[in-house]
Structures are given as C-alpha cells and as structure tokens.
Symmetry: C2
Subunit: 208 residues, 2 copies
Amino acid sequence: MSDPGSDPGALLTSAYRRFVVVVSGPSGAGKSSFVKVLLDQGPEFQYSVSATTRARRSHETDGRDYFFLTREEFTRRADAGEFVEWAHVHGEMYGTLRSQTDEALRQGKNVLLDVDVQGGKSVRKAYPDGVFIFVLPPTLEALETRLRGRGTDSEERIRLRLENARREIPMAREYDYAVVNDDLAAASHKVVSIVWAETCRSSRRLAG
Amino acid sequence: MSDPGSDPGALLTSAYRRFVVVVSGPSGAGKSSFVKVLLDQGPEFQYSVSATTRARRSHETDGRDYFFLTREEFTRRADAGEFVEWAHVHGEMYGTLRSQTDEALRQGKNVLLDVDVQGGKSVRKAYPDGVFIFVLPPTLEALETRLRGRGTDSEERIRLRLENARREIPMAREYDYAVVNDDLAAASHKVVSIVWAETCRSSRRLAG
C-alpha cells in the first residue's frame, strides 16, 4: 500500500531490527550470570564467539569456544580493521570479529558481548544502536567479599581486581543502563526487562 | 568522599530520578489497560489527575477524578502557561497542570499520562527525559473489530475513530517505543518491561 497510514502493518517492520548487547562491569559484579540469563531468553539471543591467540585447551572446539588464531594472523586482521574490539589480556590477544557479529545479526540474533569498558567504547563506534549495560556491585566491600568467596584468586589478584573496579565504575556513565547487582534475581529481572524493552524501540520496530 | 571512583555508592544516586510515562495510541488500541497494568506495578506509579471544564458527574470527586475548572479559569491558566498540555475534546477543555506532574515527581512518583499525539508532543517539550510509548493495534481491521465489540459507539463514531487512527499511527515514529497490542498479556509484559528498563537508565541512576 502506498499510503503509510492506511495499514499499521505497512508501518511496522515484520520484526524488530536485531542489536548487539554489551555487558560490562568489574570482575566479580556478575556479568557472566546476566549473559547466561539473557541466553535463556530464547534462540534470538546468541553469545558472540571471540577470537584469541591463546592455546586451545583439550576440551575446547575451534569456532565454538573461540576462534584460535596465530599471533601473526590476529595482528594482520586487527591491522586490517576486522575486529569490532580487541585487547591484550595476560599477554594474549582477544577480540570480536566484525564478520561474526554482522553474520549473527543478519541471521536474526541479538548478539551478546561481554567486554571491558575500552571494548565497550569500540563496540559503540561499530554499533551505535547497540544496548550498553553496565553491571555494578552494590559496594566495593560487597565486591571484595564476592571475590574472596570465589576462592580462586590470590590476595594480589584480588587487590588488582578491586583497583580495576575503582577505575572502571565511573565509566558506567558512558553506558545506557546501570544495573546494581545487589540481589541476583532482582538484577536479572532488570537486565531481562532492558533487552525486551529494547526490542520495542520504535527505531527498531518501524519501517523507514 | 571526594574521589567519585572510591565507592560505587558515591556514584549511584540513592534512587533513580522519577519520570513521566506517556501512553498514546488510537482509541481502542488498549491504552487504558496498559495504564492500569502500570499502576499495579506499585506505589511509585501514579496516574495524573487532569483538569477539565466539563461538568462534574455525581460520582466524581474534585481533585481525585478531575480538577473541575470553569472555562474562564481554564483559559486563564492555559494562557499563563500552567498546562503541560491541553486540548479541546467534544467542545470541552482537558489538560494536565504542570503543578500536578511536578509535585508528583517531587514526591517520588512516576507520572502516567494518557494523551493524544498532540499532547505527547507538548509533554516531550516539558519533560524531554520522559518515556513515550505508542500503542498500536495489530491491524486496522482488528481495531475496527475491537471498536464494534465494545458496542458503545455509533457507526459514525466508529468511522471517525478509524479515520483518526489512520492519521495517528504514523506518529508512532515520534515515540521512544512502539508496542503492538496483538495479545494483551504479551503487550502488557512489554509495557512493564519498558518502565522497569527505564528505571535502570544510567542517566536516571547516576549522580552528577
């Protein structure tokens, strides 16, 4: 129909335009729990498989857990601008290939990315219509208690994580949403509400 | 504390900044159902009491159902810029007094407004950080069926409502969110998700 007002169906796209969801926040704030909750929302949510230079472990599959690249290939592709974001972590390189996120979006997936605040900035440049969620611990004391409770980190590593948290938390301003993880069920409900609300954005719903 | 990074508590406001929620959409699309669902979300949601020039009915209370104003007083206050929005409807004047919405926000309420697309534009000017939701029927045919099903409108009135719907629906673009009311439970869930997501906006959550 030529008149866009003649039928709401002509105004509405058949489905909302898919988007990337970035979850950032200090180590120990609960990012991975929220990513899991989002993946449970249905097949239109998909975790992005990262590329890395680190060695494949025996239980890992190339292309499912990571794309395992040599340092030379990673560097070449980074130089060629093939990464949405990438970073050095503990001497290895990790990154998100734009071909992966673009292909997932094209297949009707909302793509979940768990990246740090620097990575978040890069993703915002690549996908300005993405949804950017920053997860905060209720207090630094609570974060410290949680990190100690995991029992996996040395005293030095815990101190480093707390220092990083102190530096990262003010970056929450750069994100669309700030969710305080004081109670996992309540905070999960908020994160889920955010992504469903974002599927209703008129900019993603309406044609033209 | 002077260092904003020293404690997340110093960055987070004690509560999110309250906001107005505008629900617009064609007559028969289900606006009033969604307003009711939002009011059921808790005491921090409140419906805004409108002012009107129409006569008070016996069961109505001034200040609870409406603020009943004389035509002279309504006009005087409209000229003085005291209304967030106002309009002529069936020969009477209806409007939202800014003193009402400001006071409710100050008292920690999110203020719900059920206004037409012209009113929505005025509210956006007054409250640019408000949340603007447009409710759509799945199709014009479905809207017609619903209007006939109510059994309250004459054939002429139904035709007028459908004509208005045709004109209003393209205005959904001006709203933040577009919710298609194909299934009341699913659509209600979306509207509820939208307001909870909006309570997590970092611009409402973070100090400074």
